[in-house]
């Protein structure tokens, strides 16, 4: 571990880790002092969920190098199955934190399984075709959850697709109600657990990236043919990164869902996938700290722009376009690269 931390990526990890802990401590201190606005307080858990989503997608796009346009699908799986777990355990497990942890684990496991199933066909494709198939899977998952009915009674779970024909006992309780989603959720998600989830994800990603598997994955990203020719099994390592990423998205989904009283499948549509992709690209591919900052900033930005009222999403769109234009402007890039530490003036990577 010590040897790993002294490398370049190890230093980056330490900086990221310290930044996250510092942000957590500051937030908790503000909350303790009672100086936190109710707007920010309500945003804390969604920020954590989106940060984890951004980390998860950054693993797929930045480290594995494949574009996924259906990440909200995994979030959806985690949200629905995690919430179902939390509702089912309501009587059995009295501690809300323990129930939340169970929900996160179940959400992550199921999203991982779905990620594996989706990965079998998807990872055989390349480039834009892979992207469109992930989009298709995201839409399919959304359609299924929109038409899924799940109930719980003394005999166990009852499942039906399309129609609400569950044949439940009178004591039965409808959990997932098709297009109505899950209602009456107890809001058990908390900021400390969200923070812990971010830390766990960071540690997992750091360990993966600095392992033999991680180096193989990055070799695939940089040159697939060269990697294959030195004997790296492509499918195995792609699958490893993809399933890890899906599981993280599932945990994020469970955390996100348990912060609201109702959750519907349409919340996790193409736009949500795109939103997370925006975090990842703005933060920088493969740059975890960038993803975290971008996710947090862009989740707060639309709320902070409330004073612009109806103009806020327009301003958001313009900011997004301008940031992309400025970041990719060669003149501005070479100007900033002069000030980078440890590099000789003006040399670009």
């Amino acid at each position: 571990m010590k040897r790993m931390l002294s490398t370049k990526s190890g230093k980056q990890f330490l900086i990221t880790f310290c930044a996250v802990v510092a942000a957590f401590v500051v937030m908790q201190a503000i909350a303790m002092a009672g100086a936190m606005s109710s707007m920010l307080k309500g945003q804390l858990v969604p920020i954590c969920a989106y940060v984890v989503m951004a980390l998860s997608l950054n693993l797929t796009v930045g480290i594995l190098g494949e574009l996924s346009l259906g990440h909200a699908g995994f979030m959806s799986v985690g949200a629905f199955l995690g919430t179902t777990t939390a509702v089912a355990l309501q009587g059995a497990v009295p501690s809300p934190t323990l129930r939340l942890l169970c929900a996160l684990v179940v959400g992550a496991v199921f999203a991982g399984v779905v990620g594996f199933l989706v990965g079998i066909p998807v990872l055989r494709l390349n480039g834009d075709y892979l992207a469109i198939v992930t989009l298709a899977f995201g839409e399919i998952i959304k359609s299924i959850f929109n038409n899924l009915y799940l109930g719980l009674d003394s005999h166990g779970f009852h499942l039906s697709l399309l129609d609400n024909k569950l044949h439940m006992e009178p004591d039965g309780k409808l959990i997932i109600g098709g297009p109505m989603g899950i209602g009456g959720i107890q809001k058990i998600a908390s900021f400390p657990v969200g923070f812990a989830l971010i830390v766990v994800c960071l540690v997992i990603i750091f360990n993966l990236v600095n392992s033999r598997a991680g180096r193989a994955i990055m070799a695939l990203r940089d040159n697939r043919i060269a990697a294959e020719s030195v004997g790296i099994p492509i499918t195995k390592y792609k699958m490893m990164a993809f399933v890890t990423s899906a599981a993280m998205a599932g945990a994020a989904g469970a955390l996100f869902a348990l912060n609201f009283s109702t959750i519907v499948a349409n919340k996790f549509d193409f736009n949500t996938s795109i939103l997370v992709l925006v975090f990842v690209v703005l933060g920088g591919l493969g740059n975890m700290l960038g993803s975290i900052v971008a996710a947090a900033a862009l989740t707060i930005l639309p709320e902070a722009l409330r004073q612009f009222a109806s103009y806020r999403m327009l301003v958001y769109a313009i900011v997004l376009i301008l940031v992309m234009l400025v970041r990719n402007n060669p003149a501005i890039q070479s100007f900033f690269s002069r000030f980078r530490f440890g590099k000789k003036g003006g040399v670009q990577e």
Partner: protein, 299 residues
Amino acid sequence: MSFLNSLISGISLGSIYAIIALGYTMVYGIAKMLNFAHGDVIMVGAYICFFAVSRFSLPPLLGVLVAVVVCTILGMTIEKLAYAPLRSAPSLAVLITAIGVSYFLQNAALLLWSPNPKVFPDFFKSVGRDGEAHTGLALGPLRISYVTLVTILVCLAIMAALTFFINNGKLGKAMRACSEDKDAARLMGINVNTTISATFAIGSGLAAIAGVLYMSAYPTLVPTTGSMPGIKAFTAAVFGGIGSIPGAFLGGLLLGVIEIFAKAYISTQLSDAVVFAVLIVVLLVKPSGLLGKVIREKV
């Protein structure tokens, strides 16, 4: 007979997807970018036509023409302001910019034209001698509405014109050259920037026509109207092999037919899932789409 009726409405919906998919596939073929704002250009076209006809009481055909002109200018402006500075940027940066443009168009429409749904006027209604309104032809039990008929004919006409233009026109040849190799095209004296700009212009103009046709079939107009047909048409373009013009046509038609059949025979709610499932199966069997070029990788 219900089978034939479904088939005809499937072909009609597919024709609309095909027209939109042409815009996606041409832009992809030349600029190598996924233009996610394309769906929102459809929406803008539909709004322009709506206001031209219902506010300024222009005849429908003139309304469509105004929509086409506005969308063509819009497409070229977007390309100049947002995409042209990113020619040499990584493709993900261009993708995010396109998403930004899409958000911008949707929210601008929200501010300009309010989120209240507008009911698109029915252009294809004729009043017969008996004073009854006719909306279509009836051939025995077979019913074909005028909208369906016009949509299919317009799509065929566009397809024929575009094929002729790409194969024989000077600009069409320049487009093909640019999509093969931009640097070689530049050496041959082709102005690559103008060609790309023209591609956006044609794609956006087609999007306006598609918008009007789509609205005639499904007449509820809101600022997010364009996104779903946009995604479907994008899927259709990939289905047929992105970058290929006949592929976009075939992909669009098939997607429309599959969608209507899934609605008629499987389930209305799950029709989208069926469409996407078919797409996945096709891509697994033919990873570059139905008519896409197989690119050999050189080591």
